[in-house]
Subunit: 457 residues, 2 copies
């Protein structure tokens, strides 16, 4: 008889992982190294110290250490909101009429509203531990800025947050949440940095982009004494911290006697996807589970995997960061302001880019109205109002489940539900009113972005 699977399954505090998992230690081929844009040579760890605090710079470069101890102080804060539940979507399965078993790891049950807190806590802790006195960052939809504000409030660190202007305007209350946690929120591009002034001069009506906000935050950090920059996605260190998602998921599924046939995650910069898949990808790489499929889901309006190039590019619009080899639309690419679905970053985690390039992962893209349709269906079935970002994964999982309905296969699907959509109601209203538009960049649109790629490959 099949084991009775609860709707929501929580590990106990004792069962929580005490170490993060570094997927690079098990990759046969490593992601390409970061390059210094001035010299074109691989970046050394010490060269990152002006930007990142030292322990994080080390984690960024360290591809050898398989398991990294989670500091006690970080674990203490994790325990306020973790372990997060592994949920069985019984009602969604029933509504779809699929023989598939759908699981989701729900990371939205904390005030940041997303998985971003997992890395924010680690980064704020290491900064505090090194004796830094302030931090800067960027935020797009606002989830990362909220998460980092919470972590900085907890560890007592002042924080400047450059928020992508379109989100700043679309999500007025996000700002207020960050302010509750003492975050100082600045719409980007702004006149508070040289790079912001330049971008505004070139394009006064820009609605901003993550790449541009990153430039401003980095400039502010390197020009302020005892200050560093922190980033909520893309980086290797972030994927390391986010591995807690996958580790908890795998442990919970083991206890329930389950293992996923397909793992689905939304992909913006790759923080959630990279963390969710890490321990399952390990099993694929070492041959234990060679047939697991991994599906990255991205917006059709910002299709880095499905229509981008695998090339060296800047991580920011202002072109002041090191160069990373990744799937990218070019740092000059800015998605349509009409796009409300999040995941607006031009590039993609170098680790995930390498795995995708080497054929270990698939990718699909969806237009935003299809994504919101899936979000509303999910909400009614599972009583969780999902973030638009997370809803990409829902749509991907629904499509996998519908394939199972056609073939009659009872596959086990695991997807990452990264967060909640309480601050995305403007977008939901537009969707419900039928005024939401889809936007797919033309080849010409994309070419403009590719033209911004550095001539280095």
């Amino acid at each position: 008889m099949e084991k009775k699977i609860p709707h929501r399954f929580y590990l106990t505090e004792e069962q929580m992982p005490k170490q993060w998992y570094n997927l690079r230690a098990d990759m046969k081929e490593q992601p390409e190294p970061l390059l210094n844009p001035g010299t074109g040579k691989p970046v050394k760890e010490e060269e990152l110290y002006p930007i990142f605090c030292e322990k994080l710079a080390h984690q960024e470069m360290d591809s050898k250490t398989r398991y990294v101890d989670i500091p006690e102080e970080v674990l203490e804060m994790y325990k306020i909101y973790r372990p997060s539940p592994l949920c069985r979507a019984y009602n969604l399965e029933k509504a779809l009429g699929t023989p598939a078993k759908i699981y989701y790891k729900f990371e939205g049950n904390n005030t940041s509203g997303s998985h971003k807190l997992n890395s924010a806590i680690a980064q704020a802790y290491y900064a505090k531990d090194q004796g830094l006195t302030s931090l800067t960052t960027e935020t797009g939809a606002g989830q990362w800025g909220t998460a980092l504000s919470e972590a900085c409030a907890y560890f007592g660190l002042p924080l400047d947050i450059f928020m992508v202007k379109v989100s700043y305007e679309q999500k007025p209350f996000r700002k207020a949440v960050m302010q509750v946690f003492d975050g100082n929120v600045i719409p980007s591009p702004s006149n508070t940095t040289n790079v912001g002034k330049q971008i505004l001069a070139d394009n006064p009506n820009t609605t901003g982009s993550l790449g541009c906000a990153i430039s401003e935050a980095v400039e502010k950090a390197v020009s302020t004494p005892n200050c560093r920059y922190v980033l909520g996605s893309v980086l290797n260190q972030v994927l390391l911290h986010q591995s807690i998602i996958g580790l908890e998921s795998k442990k919970a599924m083991e206890i329930l006697g389950e293992y996923p046939d397909v793992v689905v995650g939304c992909a913006g910069g790759g923080s959630n996807l990279g963390g969710l898949i890490a321990p399952f990808m390990k099993d694929k790489l070492d041959g234990t589970k060679p047939n697991t499929r991994f599906v990255a889901v991205e917006p059709a309006s910002c299709p880095s995997f499905t229509r981008g190039k695998y090339a060296y590019d800047f991580c920011d619009t202002g072109k002041i960061t090191p160069l990373a080899k990744m799937y990218t639309l070019g740092s000059g690419f800015i998605p349509s302001a009409n796009h409300a679905g999040g995941l607006r970053y031009h590039g993609m985690s170098p680790i995930l880019s390498k795995l995708y390039h080497d054929g270990y992962m698939e990718a699909v893209s969806y237009e935003q109205t299809k994504v919101f349709e899936a979000a509303v269906q999910f909400a009614k079935c599972e009583t969780i109002l999902p973030a638009p970002e997370s809803s990409h994964a829902i749509k991907g999982a629904i499509d996998e489940a519908l394939k199972c309905k056609e073939t009659g296969e009872a596959k086990t699907i695991l997807f990452g539900l990264t967060g909640t959509g309480y601050f995305d109601m403007k977008a939901y209203s537009e969707y419900l009113a039928g005024t939401m538009n889809d936007y797919i960049p033309t080849d010409e649109d994309l070419q403009k972005g590719f033209d911004s790629l550095p001539k280095i490959d």
Copy 2:
């Protein structure tokens, strides 16, 4: 050695209560009966059938049945978001420097953002089960309307929601959430009912009140075929459903080897407080735990317990409901529009009113700036952004913990954290900007409300 208490403790699905607990079965003296305002005589169960569906009317009147089976369909939906966690506020304890142990039952981890879903599911289920084809209700802060929309979407029932106008305006995105779940939201008072038209004629600039919205929803229900009215607080049936909060809390504390010395809850209509305290109050009533203290916390701007009268009153402003004996400010009392802290209802659950009147419970009131101060402190310590309503309980619990600090007593405090404040950011912004005002009604203000009391006592 003391048992290690986790930060968050979850019962398993199997440990979830399968029955609600009816506190009236253990009260030595019963609350006064509902009266028919026309005849002045106690209402019979059948007289409630035009307003409530039959099973709910029965639950409203039934003071004998101690435990009521939770229907299987209701349990199924409960399992999507329950059991809710019992949390130990280690960081808040540390920040306060108190020897007290502070626990809170967190009911905000669902999209309705509050405990209201516990009764919404039950009420929607019984309506569906009776073959009704639509429902009406009112909502103040929007939590109840959201909860009921979710439940109605789940069971496939159309729903009209009369939303207090001041909340409708202060919380634009609440409406959108209800619409995701197909709720039809109408600002109250409205021109869609006779009682709404009358209230608007008498007071064109009114910001509305729960009492007024109730009148409109009841009128709509009784004038629509196969439709009934449902209410999210005050009623005996609601306290019955909400007993799941207390039952889970008690079971979790038993497993952890704990029992509260003080139970603290916010009090608007009494739904959360009544549910939270129920099984602990049983122990006080039967002498098992005679010394447990129960503290109701209410806003100074709507002080039904602390400054109201224990009298028969209408449950609504339009004076079309039965009369209930309760602590009330009079159905004509409307709190200041400046009050952003919720809990705006003029009356109080008859069960809780009776317990308070008979000395089993205490009550305190706070001004809203003090409540928001506690909310921000709590958020920074525990990474949960609390609803203003819930923050009344936080403030109450903090004050109890500070008393322990003075006396050196390591008391065990349990409070109800009913929900999250994601839709209350306008109020938080005002608090942070220092533009939030306190409002305490004068004796003259209160007298105006008392003048609206029916002459029946």
